[in-house]
Amino acid sequence: MIRSFLTTSWFLVTSLLSVAAWGQSASRSDLTAAFDSANATYERGEFEAALEQYEVILDSHRHFETEFNAGNAAFKLGELGRARLHYERAALLQPTNEHLEANLALLKSKVVDRITPIPQLGLSNWLSSWVGPGRVRAWVIWALFWWTAAWALWGFRWRKSSRDSRSTLAFFGVASLFLGLVGLWGARESNLRAQTPSQLVVMDDRVDVLSTPSSGGTVLFQLHEGARACILDRTAGWAEIQLDNGNVGWIPTAATEDV
């Protein structure tokens, strides 16, 4: 009887997973074909056409490799702002990728504005790195693992006859469930940050940063194409930004693009 239950449930799960995988693979094959086509265009040196193809994919999907390659194409075209935008978006997905770090470093050396970051509190950095937009996938895997572990521990608990063993397994089961819920929270938080842009990149050659969100404000400093800043606040047509060196001002959003 037990075997029949397990067989039935296994069949059910695998069937559902297969259906889901089939649906995913159909869409994925199209995206992969488009991605490969854009890569071939890039290889031929047609960077402008390649960039357009990459951006078509990125209109509907987040994809690290596509963002990275789009940044490369924009860099080859000399469009530093566009290249920075795609690299920063790629960094949201995989912040520690070695190739991305190398390209970003090269790009920063070409940007007119050299912004030296001021030291920040270690705790906020640490927290930001853990719930950053690029951590969604890791949090999902984390949550799935502990969620599954919790149920498995509880299931395994039935096989134990010793009272102590059963108590221990029950405790670890609860702990795993807690960790799984933490993973779900982290995934939700990271996704929220990915959905809500917290940075922008300057796309114009040069733009004034003012003291107030109006054209009559005092010009505090100027930014050039490719500079990146954190968004503190928004009003109609304006964004309050903070540079990594601590400078704060208002910038017209028409001259920028959200990461």
């Binding site: 009887m1 037990i2 239950f5 397990l6 039935t8 449930s9 059910l12 799960v13 559902l16 997973l17 259906v19 889901a20 995988a21 649906g23 995913q24 869409s27 994925r28 995206l31 992969t32 991605f35 490969d36 890569n39 890039y42 290889e43 994919i57 509907s60 999907h61 987040r62 994809h63 690290f64 490799e65 990275f68 390659n69 940044g71 490369n72 860099f75 080859k76 190739h99 190398a102 390209n103 090269l106 790009l107 050396s109 969604v136 996938r137 999902v140 949550a143 799935l144 969620w147 599954t148 919790a150 149920w151 498995a152 509880w154 299931g155 039935w158 779900l184 995934a187 939700r188 996704n191």
Partner: protein, 582 residues
Amino acid sequence: MTTTPLFSSFVRLAWVVAVAFSALGEGSPAWGQEASVEVTVNSTNVSQGDVLRLTVTFVNCKVREIDPPNIQGLEWRMGPSTSNSTQWINGVTTSEQRFTYGYVVTGSKEIQIPSLLWQTNEGKLKSNPVRLLVQGNGSPAASQGTPKTQSRTVNRDLVTSIEPSKRTVYLGEPLVLSYKIYNRYNNLDVRKYDIPELEGFWKETVRGPEARWEPQLINGKRYNVATVRQIVAFPQQTGTLVLKDFTLNGYLRINFFEGREIQATCDPVEIEVLPLPESAPPNSLGTFANLTVEQSLSADSLRTNEAVTYEVTFRGAGNLKFVREPEVAWPSEFEVFDPEVEDQISITAKGERGSRRFKFVAIPRAPGDYALPSFSATSFDPLTGRHVTSSAPAIKLHVARDILGEGEASGLTFTHQQDVQVLNQDVRHILTSVSTFYPKSRPPWTTWAFGLSMGASPLLFGLMALARRKRKQEQRDVRGTRRKRALKALKQSLAQSSPATIEAVGEAMEQYLMAQTGLDRSSLTREAVRLRMAATDESLAQSWDDLWVACEMQRYGASSGDLESLTSRLIELAETTENVRK
């Protein structure tokens, strides 16, 4: 820098000679011109404090000695200095005797030098009147507001000047700037002069002899001119560059005890610097006239680890000090040391000209035939107004294997390693592997895969819980469980006994009846079965009784019925029993 001693000695000597000569000729009938006296000044437009030179010229007449005339508005300070001259033109002799005095202007607005009566050997003669116009205060402090007019109009006996060799040049084209002092004073001490900074120029000072006064006639006036400095200037920016503020501070000695400060400055000079007519190539060296380049090697054949000297020489007119170390395409097997720079540059009033030579010492570390490619240098030639390229032909070098010493059987006596030089930077290549595409429209937990993955664990857990509960129930009701499974067990037993025997059929029937009636094997009799079945259904009890008899008949040979039909009857009766007792 004082002109007084030599010049004064010469004047005195000339005066003595002239007086002696005139004395010899006194009373001679050769004087054919009318005697007169003229009073002249060096300037009729003066300022207060200026030194005015007043000259009284006695033409064809002589005086022994005269006192300085007392003139209102003028204060005598020095003189007289005297001079005599005699001219014979077409048999007519004209003699002149001059007395020059120095006066300081003290009056204002207008000063009249009236006609003066002079006692000469020709009798009393009247001189001409002179009118002087005084223009304000001539002190240095007051002249700061109008330096240009002060320098030229008020004090034109002392003038500074910047004289460029060209007024219009190309960017980087050299021009020579001469800083000159024009002086008509005999007793001027030049104490200090300021050469201004040249903004927008790279400059080289021409080394020459110490400045000295040289006489020069300008507009009929005799000036002492000194060139205090000459600079070869290379304009580094386009547009109109203004040269000014060449100032002079001197001391004008009036007599042994007295004198006054005097100052002069120059008019601004504009230099028009033109941009290069063509865009300069990336490797252009700048603006040079007749630039040539040569390259040479000290040997065309040598052995490994022997040094060879490679020379690159730039030769031409221009700022050769701007020429940087050339980038030579050395073979990687060469170890090259920093070059020695050898300049043979002459900076003269004609400009800068010469050569700059870079001498590299290189050591080939591996044998082979090498070639240093042709070397070219591009520069803008202001003479032709276009960029020209000078090339030096390629050089070949044969490097033979080094003679092996003892223990150097391998022939590799030196390992030459060098750091990898980063020549250019570029982004890393695109990534071709494909990771997961995340739709922007939905978060990960709304996907099928995530939902199933999250739901699978509790689902399995629930199924296991159900199974466990069922197993426990069965463990609590063994008999009931056995009864429920009696039909299935019967069919399995019959299916397993192939070919079917009456013993197997009997055993299966006994097992079934024990499960259904709850009797054990020892109490399972025909009567006991009939009674238990009759409690449920009388006909059912009769059917089982009949089947029991049939089985016994079959087993003990009383009947030779079909075993298959007996099996079918058993299954059919068992199913009927299940239905009846449900």
